[in-house]
């Protein structure tokens, strides 16, 4: 609890220091993430991950000193739009990094790419901009939103699940994840249950689960919903009779609340903090040392984003005026991603490996997702074919 405050304070202090330090900065980067309300933990991971990469390079990317301007979109589309417009019009930033949520990205997308400023999303990867609306000024360093659920379907096949109970909140992302799972899962979906967003009491759903005869449950319950669901699933004693499989439900942002109840739960993702490559070992330990908590995918993707910008600016020799040259440099993705192989598809969404993950408890009592096995290599999203770029 204290460490969160401390790291938030440091990050704020740093960004203020940077904002006021000098006018002679060569590279201006604006960041639009959610830093209010319950999802603030996600935005904070992005700020921390990016800041870590920046600090490791002594505040420079590609040899250019960086001014980082962090803005809070408050999870309100109008606020996000206002802040993004001010970043490109008043601050004239070279890059905008954002956002956490897809609906925020949709709000800020147009004014940024129309001003010919590069927009790099460290998390949100909606299908909207992956297909025919792909854009030369837009890059994604995370994943395409449907992919994690699609890979979960493959995990379920691999684990040999025959009957799966599927549950998600009743909104766009919830339905997308269910669709993604159904697309790749070869067994039978016993039930498809949609709960209200922000659902409190899952006991009715848990009762249905117990009578459904399913071997496993697949769910997408981000944030507080996931914390409640996991606790109640454990309380109802279902842990012994069915497997729990999810995306964005048991991750490094929710595990501190879920604790032992989530141990052994399966997940799918593009990375885990304990993946064994050298770059990741260095990242995970440096991150935890600096901020006092285990990084999640959000922090990792922001860290990679900073390194991507670093590689591109190095290639252009510090120049940002020639947009075509800068775009070509970004597309090469010539940096060491902590998740291993990483490249961009024609639609500027990543081509990367996806893995089965499992929640484990570390010896020091902290919880994280752990790498189990790679499920699919160089996985591309299914919208890239519609992109003419």
């Amino acid at each position: 609890m204290n460490t969160t405050i401390k790291s938030a304070a440091t990050a704020t202090a740093l960004s203020i220091m940077m904002a006021t330090s000098s006018l002679a900065d060569d590279l201006k980067i604006g960041m639009v993430v959610t830093l209010s309300g319950p999802p603030a933990a996600l935005g904070q991971q992005i700020v921390d991950g990016f800041q870590l990469a920046l600090d490791q390079k002594r505040g420079m990317l590609g040899g250019q000193s960086v001014e980082l301007i962090v803005e809070d979109d408050e999870l309100k589309p109008d606020v996000a739009l206002l802040k993004a417009t001010s970043l490109v019009e008043r601050e004239e930033v070279d890059f905008v990094v954002g956002t956490v949520f897809s609906n925020m990205l949709q709000a800020i997308f147009k004014p940024i790419v129309q001003s010919e400023t590069f927009l790099i999303s460290p998390n949100a990867g909606p299908s909207t901009f992956a297909g025919k609306n792909c854009n030369p000024f837009f890059f994604v360093t995370s994943y395409q939103n449907n992919q994690n659920a699609e890979v979960s379907g493959m995990v379920a096949n691999k684990e040999g699940f025959k009957n799966v109970f599927v549950m998600a909140p009743n909104y766009q992302a919830g339905r997308d994840n269910v669709k993604g799972f159904n697309q790749t899962f070869k067994g039978t979906v016993t039930d498809e249950v949609f709960t209200p967003l922000g659902h409190q009491d899952f006991s009715a759903e848990l009762a249905r689960m117990s009578t459904s005869g399913a071997d496993a449950v697949f769910t997408f319950m981000p944030g507080g919903m996931g914390v409640r669901l996991v606790g109640q699933f454990d309380g109802a004693g279902l842990k012994d009779s069915m497997k729990f499989m999810s995306v964005f439900t048991t991750d490094e942002t929710t595990l501190p609340g879920q604790k032992d109840a989530a141990v052994g739960f399966l997940a799918a993702g593009n990375w885990a903090p304990d993946m064994l490559n050298e770059a990741n070992k260095a990242f995970a330990s440096a991150f935890e040392k600096k901020y006092g908590y285990i990084p999640g995918g959000y922090a990792m993707q922001a860290y990679d984003t900073a390194n991507l910008i670093d590689s591109a600016i190095t290639k252009t020799g510090g120049a940002t005026d020639d947009k075509d040259a800068l775009r070509a440099a970004l597309r090469e993705a010539d940096f060491t991603s902590v998740r291993g192989d990483f490249s961009f598809n024609n639609n500027h969404y990543p081509v990367q490996n996806f893995h089965a993950l499992k929640v484990v408890k570390r010896d020091d009592g902290k919880f994280h997702t752990s790498f189990v096995r790679t499920i699919v290599e160089d996985y591309k999203d299914s919208f890239a074919g519609d992109c003419r770029m």
């Binding site: 999802p39 209200p196 249905r208 606790g231 309380g235």
Partner: protein, 308 residues
């Protein structure tokens, strides 16, 4: 749908209803007795949950933390009354809404600053952490049964206090003709303060018992406040027994509706359509009920006696 499932739904509905009652009881008294719109009532629910979290961490014991949290919830309610609300009794409803809305924002942000934005959990107390085997796979947590028991006990205690004690009599009298009660030499401001403090404490208590089940996060009281207003409108503003009946009704309809709506619709439509409409319809049910009550019984199901 099996019988066990139905039973579980009813238990959950009852439990949710009692939780709503604890919140609505204070709200309906404050609104009914003082004519004061307190949007910050829901935030007391959140305060209760954070208090039990903080005190459990501090003392390491749920029961001593419970006592401390209740006392603190009462004190915070009284402090808010003293610092903010008492200046607003004579003001218009719009002013009250503005000021109490400000308190919501303030306390939500304060919770975030003090405890961080992440969702927190506390363990259920040891003695209540078991569960009862209902079916082969499913167990029902004892803690939930305990909250039903405590909720019912609270409701009865409150009902007896309002109906049979001197304070209760004054509250009932104060709700209809405050000037007359004041003219008879009763310190009406003192009375208001008691109602306010107890109301805040009840909402805090609801937050405390909800914390081990529903987890703790900033803004958790905002949605429940809206439902609490629905409850007091259905039950009749200012009426404790109305709030009780309405809370149980809303709890049951909401819980059963969520599970049954999709299933019932799938008899009429095919399953994908039912899956689209069901959840949407289920979340509207209680508002439809409220609209119906406003049309056919505008004073609520059990209006307070003499309410104008």
């Amino acid at each position: 749908m099996s019988f066990t499932l139905f039973l579980i739904l009813c238990l959950n509905g009852l439990q949710y209803g009692l939780l709503l009652f604890l919140i609505a009881a204070g709200l309906t008294l404050v609104f009914g007795v003082m004519g004061f719109i307190n949007l910050a009532h829901g935030v007391q629910y959140m305060v209760g949950a954070y208090l039990i979290f903080a005190f459990t961490a501090l003392t390491g014991n749920f029961w001593s933390a419970l006592i401390l949290s209740l006392v603190m919830a009462l004190l915070i309610g009284l402090l808010l009354e003293y610092a903010v609300f008492r200046h607003l009794y004579e003001r218009s409803h719009l002013d009250q809404v503005l000021a109490t809305f400000g308190i919501i924002i303030f306390l939500n942000e304060l919770a975030k600053v003090l405890f961080g934005p992440a969702t927190l959990t506390i363990a259920t107390p040891e003695i209540l952490s078991g569960s009862i085997q209902l079916t082969e796979q499913l167990r029902y947590p004892v803690y939930r049964l305990a909250t039903i028991g405590v909720g019912l006990a609270m409701a009865i205690a409150l009902f007896l206090t309002i109906s049979y004690t001197r304070t209760g009599m004054l509250i009932r009298a104060g709700s209809t003709t405050p000037e007359m009660v004041a003219a008879l030499g009763v310190n009406i401001k003192q009375l208001f303060r008691i109602v306010f403090g107890v109301g805040a404490m009840l909402a805090g208590f609801a937050g405390i018992i909800a914390a081990p089940i529903f987890a703790i996060e900033p803004g958790m009281g905002d949605n429940i406040l809206i439902i609490a207003f629905v409850v007091i409108i259905i039950g009749g503003v200012g009426s404790i027994s109305g709030a009780f009946v309405a809370a149980i009704l809303v709890g049951l309809i909401d819980t059963l509706g969520r599970s049954l709506a999709t299933e019932l619709l799938s008899f009429v439509f095919d399953s994908s359509v039912a899956n689209q409409i069901g959840p949407a319809l289920a979340s509207m049910l209680i508002y439809i009920l409220m609209a119906a009550i406003l049309v056919f019984r505008p004073k609520g199901l059990l209006p307070a006696k003499g309410a104008s």
